[in-house]
Structure formats: structure tokens, C-alpha cells
């Protein structure tokens, strides 16, 4: 092979674009650890590496919003925080019909989607790390065991739970029951469920780690103005800045990772908010742009050495995209509920989070409290519906309780992120296309879960229960999966690219399978473990 794949010529602007206040600027030619994204994965890696004295540049595509900037208003917050750059969809999933350019509901801002996450923090279960072994053959599913086990991850789960301040763990108290939970938990008890509680949940019930207790304002999806909810925005990013080793560059979108003639990555090219191209030299690169943007960036970084995309000799970059089996149930009662008051998702039922083939499907699911305001409920409760069937749901708003279904969906090679070369974004770059079809196992699990929701709410006197279809994806997983064998996946058990020794993927893209649990805790645990590995490898001169 010849030279690397950097953009030739003089088009690259010299100075770095826009360091955030508190940054310690790093020169463009200094070989830093360059971290792309500042959410659960990127923000955590940045803090762990800077704490160890390693200079880091964090390239964050979105702006640096803080608590004072957030809105207690669903659409205003959505416009402010959500990733709204052009995307396309394909496949038979209903999102492709109802929200064709919004496959995912994730955040473009410092802190990434931790500023939007609900807060539920169950761990993955032991068998969910080895589903090929436990579930066996499932037609059409690309099952694979993880190259790590729950035992290996357990100490990192401990650290992640302490960082987040998960309720019900390590001495953190439970959140109190809010109105939506009172309905949910009473229903659970009456149908015979036992494993329900108001957590584990990553929002403070009492002051912890410099952050206040929840005031139950009901707007944690909208950034949490009170700062009671853990996010990398309130914890890891400011602490990384305080080390003096971080150069945080908001509104800087990575567009290409370059490599040298030897095949090691050597820089990241990125656009600042005005579209000027910059180059930051890198000793190591950590990609943490969430499961749509991370593979997109690798695919956009194709070169003569990596003709199908960087680190894609397996052909698995972008494949095995998972979004969880989801759905919601909204139940109407004859008395007030006022589900919008209080912590949005501080209620979890775990009884169905098990592998029990007698139910007719592999894997399991959780049920979790969920509330939307009228503004969002109108768009999402039954997209496209109008007439009295629709307005009856809205009229019952004050008497409505809600829950979310979240379970393991089966990885499939054909569910994938690709570059759509027919549609370009605001920079003229190919947009990501998100293709998704439910696996029959996902459909069977969803039907079971809807029936469970009917039973729960029926047991406490619901007049009706509406089965709301999946929203645009909030849990985006698996597009750069971990594998023991380089032929099966993109990264190894540390999240290190099989093909490129100093390239890491640090977000939920690395998940070999999706498990049933909300993924943020596991992303944080994996990122802490990965950062420790990178620190060790750097110290040994191995990167």
C-alpha cells in the first residue's frame, strides 16, 4: 500500500475550531487521544484518560448546553437537543413510515444522550453475554457470544453504578413512589410479579456526589435542569476539564479518520460550526458517536488500505444494528393519575427479564414507567391516527398511566447502517440510512409484553389500554460488534478494532448482542474498562 488516506492539499484550516471554556488547548499537531463524542462512552473515556494524565481532545458534534439552557417543554427541548441532521430509513419497521427521517431519538450536544436518558440502570444478565450458546439457532438471527463475561464486567459495573449513583445500589436509597409508579406497582403486585421497584435508577433520591436530590419535576428527558440525574455533562466532562488535560471542542463534527502508511490511525479530520475543515493529530482514536454515527464515520473513512470502510475487513461495520424490542402501553382509568408529575422512569418490573422458551420466544424484557406530555403523546401514541379514537386518548390525559416495554431484540446482519449516497447532509456528506426489520422473535416478545401490560393495568381497573408502537430508537446498539474472531465482528473484547491497533470504539456500537436492559450503565462500565486498558497500553508503549 502507498500513503495514508488524509485529505491532501491546503484545504485544512490551521487552528483548531472552537475549544469550550475551561479547555486546555491542545495543538493540532500534538498527538492526543482523540475522542469522538462526549456521551456515556466518549465522556467516560475522556474523564478516565485525562484523570490518568493523558491529553485528550473531545470532538463533539453538538453545542455545549448546560442546565440553565434546558427547557421544561417537550418540543422546545427536542428542537434544542435532538440529533436532527438528515437521515433516511428503510425496511419494514413502522418508524420508516411514520418518521422516515427520524430513525433515532438521540442527542446532539455535549453529554450526548446521557442528557436525555431516562436513568434506568439494570445490569445485563449472565446468559445475555452468551446467547448463541443459550438461545441456540434462531433462523435469520446472527447470534454470537460476547468475548467477555458478566464476571469480567462485574467490577466495572460496580464502578459505573457508583459514578452514576444508581438508586438501590451501594447504599443509595430508593426514589419514592410517584403517581405513575403507584398504578404500575400495584398492578404488578396484583398479577403476581415480585421483582418491581423504583430503580435501580440514575437520579439522586438524596444529595450525592455534589448533585442535589430530585425535585420530581418530570423533565429528565429534557436535560434535567436540576442536575439530579447523572450525565457526563454534569459529572465526567467538568471533572475532565478540571484535570487540565482536556480540550473539549463542541460543534466540531468528525468526518474522517486518517491513517498512516503503516495502517495506524494518525489524525481525525473534522468540520467546525462554519464548515471549516480541521485536522487533529492522534495517538489513539476512540469513536463514540452513537450507533448510527460511529459506523457512518468508519464507512466515510474508507481508503485504499480499507476499501470497504475503516476497520471493516469483516464486512460487519454497520451490521447487526439493534434497537431493542420496544413498545408502550397507555392505560386510561376513571380517576386521576397525573403521570407527568415526578421522575419519568423511576419504576421497573424485572419479572419478565428472563430466558424462558415456554413463552414462545428467546430472551426477556423489562416493563418501566413512562410518561409523555400531551405535546409528545399526540405525535407518538398512535402516529397517523385522527378522529374520536385519537381525541378520546388525549381527552383522558389526566387519567392515563404509561409504561414502556424494553427487551432484547435479535441481531440480524441485514439490519444495518449504510451510507446513502443519494442524499447528503448540510455538509454535502452522505447521510446514514438505517434499515430495520423486526425478527419474528422480536414480534413474539412484543405481543407477550403488550399482554403483560394489559394484565398489569387491568388488575387495577383500567378502562382501556392502548398499545403504542415503538418510538424512534433511543437505544441504538451493535453496529460495530465485539467478537473473539476478527471474521465475526469489528472490535475485540476491549473495543479495539481488529484491523487497526490504535483505533477503539467506545459506545453502544460494540455490543455483541443487546440484552434486555437499558444500555447506558453497560456502556459506562465498558468504557471505564476500555479506558483502563488504553491507559495500560499507552504506558507500555504498545499503542
Amino acid at each position: 500500500m502507498t500513503a495514508g488516506n488524509g485529505t491532501p492539499g491546503t484545504g485544512i484550516a490551521g487552528p483548531a475550531g472552537g475549544s469550550a471554556p475551561g479547555s486546555n488547548p491542545i495543538a493540532p499537531e500534538e498527538q492526543a487521544a482523540v475522542i469522538i463524542g462526549s456521551g456515556a462512552g466518549g465522556g467516560t473515556v475522556a474523564y478516565e484518560l485525562t484523570k490518568a494524565g493523558i491529553p485528550c481532545v473531545v470532538l463533539e458534534a453538538g453545542p455545549y448546553l448546560t442546565q440553565a439552557d434546558y427547557h421544561n417543554d417537550e418540543w422546545a427541548a427536542f428542537s434544542q437537543m435532538a440529533w436532527l441532521d438528515m437521515r433516511t430509513t428503510s425496511g419494514t419497521w413502522r418508524v420508516a413510515t411514520d418518521f422516515p427521517n427520524l430513525p433515532a431519538w438521540i442527542v446532539k450536544a455535549v453529554g450526548g444522550s446521557t442528557t436525555h436518558w431516562s436513568g434506568a440502570t439494570p445490569r445485563f444478565m449472565d446468559h445475555e453475554f452468551r446467547i448463541k450458546t443459550v438461545y441456540g439457532g434462531l433462523d435469520g438471527a446472527n447470534l454470537l457470544d460476547w468475548p467477555i463475561t458478566l464476571d469480567e464486567l462485574a467490577p466495572w459495573y460496580d464502578k459505573a453504578e457508583k459514578a452514576i449513583g444508581s438508586s438501590h445500589r451501594h447504599g443509595r436509597p430508593a426514589l419514592p413512589a410517584n403517581n405513575n409508579y403507584i398504578v404500575f406497582a400495584n398492578g404488578a403486585e396484583r398479577v403476581g410479579y415480585r421483582y418491581y421497584a423504583t430503580g435501580p435508577y440514575g437520579t439522586n433520591a438524596e444529595p450525592y456526589d455534589g448533585r442535589p436530590a430530585s425535585i420530581q419535576d418530570g423533565f429528565n428527558f429534557q436535560g434535567d435542569k436540576n442536575g439530579s440525574k447523572w450525565s457526563t455533562l454534569v459529572r465526567e466532562i467538568p471533572r475532565a476539564l478540571a484535570t487540565g488535560k482536556l480540550d473539549l471542542r463542541p460543534q466540531c463534527q468528525a468526518v474522517k479518520i486518517t491513517h498512516d502508511a503503516a495502517g495506524k490511525v494518525d489524525a481525525v479530520e473534522y468540520l467546525d460550526k462554519d464548515g471549516n475543515l480541521h485536522r487533529q493529530a492522534a495517538k489513539v482514536v476512540c469513536v463514540a458517536g452513537n450507533t448510527i454515527e460511529s459506523p457512518r464515520l468508519l464507512l466515510m473513512s474508507a481508503s485504499s488500505l480499507h476499501p470497504d470502510g475503516l476497520a471493516n475487513s469483516s464486512g460487519q461495520v454497520g451490521r447487526n444494528y439493534m434497537r431493542h424490542m420496544t413498545g408502550s402501553a397507555y392505560a386510561v382509568f376513571d380517576k386521576p393519575v397525573r403521570m407527568h408529575r415526578g421522575e419519568t422512569m423511576a419504576g421497573i418490573i424485572a419479572d419478565e427479564a428472563k430466558h424462558d422458551p415456554s413463552r414462545g420466544f428467546a430472551g426477556g424484557y423489562y416493563l418501566e414507567t413512562l410518561s409523555l406530555g400531551p405535546a409528545f403523546l399526540a405525535s407518538f401514541v398512535e402516529p397517523g391516527e385522527w378522529g374520536r379514537g385519537f381525541t378520546d386518548k388525549m381527552d383522558a390525559y389526566e387519567r392515563t398511566a404509561g409504561l414502556w416495554l424494553v427487551g432484547e431484540d435479535m441481531p440480524q446482519e441485514s439490519n444495518r447502517i449504510t451510507l446513502n449516497r443519494d442524499v447528503t447532509d448540510q455538509w454535502g456528506l452522505p447521510v446514514p440510512d438505517v434499515h430495520f426489520d423486526d425478527h419474528p422473535n422480536d414480534v413474539a416478545m412484543r405481543q407477550h409484553a403488550y399482554a403483560a401490560a394489559d394484565a398489569i393495568y387491568g388488575a387495577v381497573g383500567a378502562l382501556s389500554v392502548h398499545r403504542t408502537p415503538p418510538y424512534p430508537s433511543t437505544h441504538n446498539l451493535g453496529s460495530c460488534r465485539m467478537s473473539a474472531d476478527p471474521a465475526d465482528g469489528v472490535v475485540d473484547k476491549w473495543g479495539r478494532a481488529h484491523d487497526v491497533p490504535n483505533l477503539f470504539v467506545s459506545d453502544g456500537s460494540v455490543m455483541t448482542s443487546g440484552a434486555a436492559a437499558n444500555p447506558t450503565l453497560t456502556i459506562v462500565a465498558l468504557a471505564k474498562r476500555q479506558a483502563d486498558h488504553i491507559r495500560t497500553e499507552l504506558a507500555a508503549g504498545a499503542l
Binding site: 417537550e74 415526578g342 400531551p374 385522527w386 389526566e398
Partner: protein
């Protein structure tokens, strides 16, 4: 939303009072809330007109009247619903629907009518304002179950007993 470029954008054409009345009637039929006054619907009419950059509303209203045999406003609710149903695949209806589900239900008067209380942070959240005031069910346990741990793998019948992990 950013201001449109005056050189390239099409200024939405104002509707006549008759056209506005037809659109208002259409909204009250398609999104019927009997206890709502006209005001939030009227505001939604204006938002639809502002969103009509492709100029489909005037023709859509004409088509609505035509499908109604001349005067959409004279139809009963069930007749009017049937007419709207026949037009529900048109760009006109899609614009009306996409705009209404956002604008009507983001209207603060509608929030009040539905019992939604909006912004709460500046009022101290709901911690002392009823986050747990539901009184028709008992207060449930908030701690995790303190009995045996959950069985995570249930063996098929005849292949052994369940085993936790």
C-alpha cells in the same frame, strides 16, 4: 425556526374568512374535543396557513367542499368525517395532520384543558406539589423484592430445574 429567506420563500397566501371557517370546521371534526373552545383551533388554523409553503391548503379546501357536494360546513359530523377520510391520503390532509398534532397539543390553553401543568422546575418541581397524591390505590413498595433472587434461565419442561445465574 430560522427566518426564511425572503427572496426564495413563498409567502403563504392568506385565507378568506370562508376558507378559514371551513378549515376550522375540518379541525373540529378531525380532532374533536367537545369541551375545547374555538380559540386553540383558530390558532392551529393560522399555524397551518403559515406552514403551507407548497400552497396546498386553498385547493384542499376547495376539494373538501366539492367532495361535500358544495358546502363542507353544512355536513353532519359523521358525513364530514367520511369526506375527510376520503381525502386522508392527500398532501393537504397530511399537512393538516402533521401540523395539528404538534400545534394543537402544544397549545397551553389545551394543556390546561387536559390537566397538564407544563413547566415545573421554576415551581420547585412536584416534590411538594403532588407527585405522589394519587389516593385511590395503596402506597406500594419502592424497595426491591427481598425474597429469593430472580430465576434468569427457565429450563424447558423435562430438561431439568430452573437455575439462577
Amino acid at each position: 425556526m430560522p427566518d426564511s429567506d425572503p427572496q426564495t420563500s413563498t409567502a403563504p397566501e392568506a385565507l378568506s374568512p370562508e376558507q378559514e371557517a371551513t378549515l376550522l370546521r375540518m379541525l373540529r371534526v378531525a380532532y374533536p374535543h367537545d369541551r375545547f373552545p374555538d380559540a386553540p383551533y383558530v390558532r392551529t388554523v393560522k399555524t397551518i396557513v403559515d406552514a403551507d409553503t407548497d400552497g396546498v391548503v386553498a385547493d384542499g379546501l376547495a376539494a373538501l367542499n366539492e367532495a361535500a357536494g358544495g358546502d363542507f360546513g353544512s355536513l353532519s359530523e359523521s358525513e364530514a368525517t367520511a369526506v375527510i377520510e376520503r381525502m386522508s391520503r392527500t398532501p393537504f390532509f397530511k399537512l393538516v395532520h402533521a401540523t395539528t398534532v404538534v400545534a394543537l397539543y402544544d397549545d397551553h390553553e389545551v394543556w390546561d384543558l387536559l390537566g397538564y401543568e407544563g413547566e415545573s422546575f421554576d415551581k420547585g418541581g412536584y416534590l411538594h406539589r403532588g407527585f405522589d397524591d394519587l389516593d385511590w390505590l395503596p402506597k406500594p413498595r419502592v424497595e426491591e423484592f427481598d425474597g429469593p433472587p430472580r430465576v434468569e434461565i427457565v429450563q424447558q419442561a423435562g430438561t431439568g430445574t430452573g437455575s439462577g445465574s
